[in-house]
Symmetry: C2
Amino acid sequence: MKEGPDIAHVAALIGDPARANMLTALMSGKALTVSELAEEAGVTIQTASSHLSKLDGGGLLRPRKQGRHKYFSLANDDVAHVLEGLMGLAAGSGRLRKRTGPKDAALRQARVCYNHLAGDMGTQMFDSLIAQGHLSLDGDDLNLTRSGQAFVTELGIDLAELRKNKSPLCRECLDWSERRSHLAGSLGRAFLSRFEGLSWARRDQKTRVISFSANGTTEFERLFSVG
Amino acid sequence: MKEGPDIAHVAALIGDPARANMLTALMSGKALTVSELAEEAGVTIQTASSHLSKLDGGGLLRPRKQGRHKYFSLANDDVAHVLEGLMGLAAGSGRLRKRTGPKDAALRQARVCYNHLAGDMGTQMFDSLIAQGHLSLDGDDLNLTRSGQAFVTELGIDLAELRKNKSPLCRECLDWSERRSHLAGSLGRAFLSRFEGLSWARRDQKTRVISFSANGTTEFERLFSVG
DNA sequence: TTCATAGTTCGACCTTAATCGAAGCATTCG
DNA sequence: CGAATGCTTCGATTAAGGTCGAACTATGAA
């Protein structure tokens, strides 16, 4: 009857509260087990199992079996991107699930979005990389320039290793709180991982909040000042 | 219980087949009446009315009353953006509602996406504008450069008029068939409108397909060659 | 092997919401 | 003022699917 793909099915998958909670939890980038996701969603394990098989069937998840555990993560960046978009719409229509509190402020400043840095600091880093000419945007392709390659290598990131990964190196991801782009893709993940390795930042396991140390903040500002 | 906005509610709104059909129909950018949308969705007018009030309540639509008609259009570009993203996910998981046929090929080449040009020609135009330096991307802000201003004025687009509009001038929109960006925002709409004014292109009323005339194709290639 | 833990499948219950007929407003036209 | 058209509201029906208890499978540990 209509042209185009069947939106309704995918949207309905995300539209159930329990499943939405699971997907939101997976936005942290971590792979979680069925039991953990059941806990997150506030349902029993049977119910969670049923939901997860549906999400998987819809192509939204990537399952991995390890021993007697089964880990789920988001299928790819596209899924994370759509979820962020939906968060933006929900936030825009004044539908925040929680009052804006101190934790919320922390979330807006720096949080994990599918394993990369999001929030205010995420967009600041992205803008700075563009402004310094380390990233260039041609069409939808985000590319690391020669100066950018030097920059990340200087920071201690192994580019050759990253390129072995089949997923794209650079990618932009729209932030629901800032409504601006931040850096995703394997390089985005490498940045955050490096910040952790340098003890500049630390992830809170439950809330997606990223805390920067005093030193980390200084270094971050030095590298990614917008002035 | 969880941080972040309430995704589930918005997704559930899109997740109903009838509502998804209506939203898909509105992706053409046209404002449609309740009766027309009922027809599109294949439900009675009462049912459509109920759905539309829900979509409106969720902030997805912008209603306008005109005489005894009530017109609905998508609330803003963000909504269109999320819908395109969902189409991408659905298409990716092999969930096309329709076999790939001749009309489908036409859709991939050039179609209307919320009043601007999408499909292969849409992304080609976007890439060309970037490559020619008429558009520049700083962070998530897409800007028209000085040369770009000259370019569109030369084409016969009234920039001053566009700037009066409160919606953003330039904006990128992700294409579900191409998986690349094309130009949205009021300038994107102006381009398509100008193509129609010059009789280069013509919209099919029902299928979202845009047909370019022989002359229009030539002119388009001249302006937006990628070489 | 026996026990424990992780996950899946099955079946029954039950809430939610999509649907449409019928009646009620509102607006336009003659 | 009717009459017609476009849309909304109400109510009853019905279908879909989320939920969990219980039983079952699989992996790992003692």
